[in-house]
Amino acid sequence: MDLTGATRIVIIGGGQAGAQALQSLRQGGYEGKLTLVADEAALPYQRPPLSKAYMKGEFSEERLYFRPEAWYQDQKIEVILSTHAAKIDRTAQTVELPHGGKIDYDALIIATGSRPRVLPTKGADLDGVHDLRDLSDVERIRPNMISGRKMVIIGAGYIGLEAAAVARQMGLEVTVLEMASRVLARVTSPVMSEFFETEHRAQGVTILTGARLDHIDGADGKVTAAVLADGTRIDADIVLVGIGILPNEELAKDTGIGCNNGILVDRDARTSDPRVFAAGDCASRPLVHFGRSGRLESVHNAIEQGKLAAAAILGKPRPAEDCPWFWSDQYDLKLQIAGLSQDYDEIVVRGDPKDRKFAAFYLRNGTLIAVDAVNSPPEFLASKKLIMSGAKLAPAVLGDTSVSMKDIAAAVPAA
């Protein structure tokens, strides 16, 4: 459907994807009405620092904002904050607000993001038990980020481990509980899990893997301890829950738009309704370099889909779809990830984890599909190109640190 005549564009959700779409629409020359409906009170802001530098209190809230307030005025963007879109009426082409207001659209972008999985145990609602997702979560967590306090983190994913690093650096006593037999089990290989587990232990974090949480204990409505199924009791002043996220797809599903663990979109971020787009954590998209579809939880994905949706609405050529990439900061370690490592059949380690500078390459049928690079930007950046090229690579060469990544990449023709 040609939407180049659109004069009313609405974006639901003020996260990375929504903010990107606003910017790309205006930069792309769209001059019509542009409305953002966002349920948080703050202007659109960057989420990654919440579990990193911002959690440490290293900078102000304003510094998290993508744009200052004046930019939205300059760009004539109507910003409706602290407001949850209640319903989409696709026949009338309106977004309904909770108190009866309606906003008409010619094109709509759903960028509603995701929400933390709720801990299914008793005590999850006690004071002092927190998710780590929004600015408001960090505001609630901060008063307890004091040396000597006891923090229990449930879930050893990236969010949990990043928070553990920050809390340790601030002098808290930190225990991480993980149900699986290793940390980061869902997202990476045993070699990386072992490296991060060793690192956190060396920094003084207690990590309990294979830990089955029974419940959270409290007194006077406030958390006091996490209790495991085997009876182990771990005292806690504060509990952080980081056990994964769920896509906010209900708004789309309720109006009959196709969803399946995410709002289903095509390469242009378009849903089953040609006037409606979805971008970011909430969308399930074609992963063109991997021959399948899926949902990605990352900054790169949110930015890219925000751009794709804007380009499709404005009738511009589709922007390039990059190899998916991610990063995580823990202590002085920068982990940079390119590609998607699920289904690898071979792993090549380049360098020695003991040097805290190494990379794990993941191959399938001799083709590079992903890399986890620790303090190793060349391995990360070269791999992005190599993954997109789809070229066959010799494992022995990848693992040979006497051959530079530049030379390895140069030997492979570009995609």
């Binding site: 990654p48 510094r63 790169h300 990063w327 900061d329 930007p377 060349p378």
Partner: protein, 106 residues
């Protein structure tokens, strides 16, 4: 405070009043300067805030850290005066700084 001039690949100049302590990248993004995407928000993870620094300021913008060096090694169209603008901190000493964005970021 420092006045920073951002020059497009086609020569268009945009002047921004930058605040001490923020990065040259942040000042650009907050003011909607095209050509500086800074996808990672300044974590030195993406190399999408590459700029060419006016040669007169090369000794004032600070030393490159190892991380930045190796990121730049893989950026496109790298020159001697290439820097990642997220790694340059604004101070009074940078008043009058001029940076140019590479064509590949437009």
């Amino acid at each position: 405070m420092a006045k920073i001039t951002y020059v497009d690949n086609d020569g268009t100049e945009r002047v921004v009043e930058a605040t001490n302590g923020e990065s040259v990248m942040e000042a650009a993004v907050k003011n909607g300067i095209p050509g500086i995407d800074a996808d990672c928000g300044g974590a030195c993870a993406c190399a999408t805030c590459h700029v060419y620094v006016d040669k007169a300021f090369m000794d004032k913008v600070g030393e490159q850290q190892e991380m930045e060096k190796s990121m730049l090694d893989f950026a496109e169209n790298v020159q001697e005066n290439s820097r990642l603008s997220c790694q340059i901190t604004v101070s009074d000493a940078l008043d009058g700084l001029k940076v140019t964005t590479p064509e590949s970021q437009h």
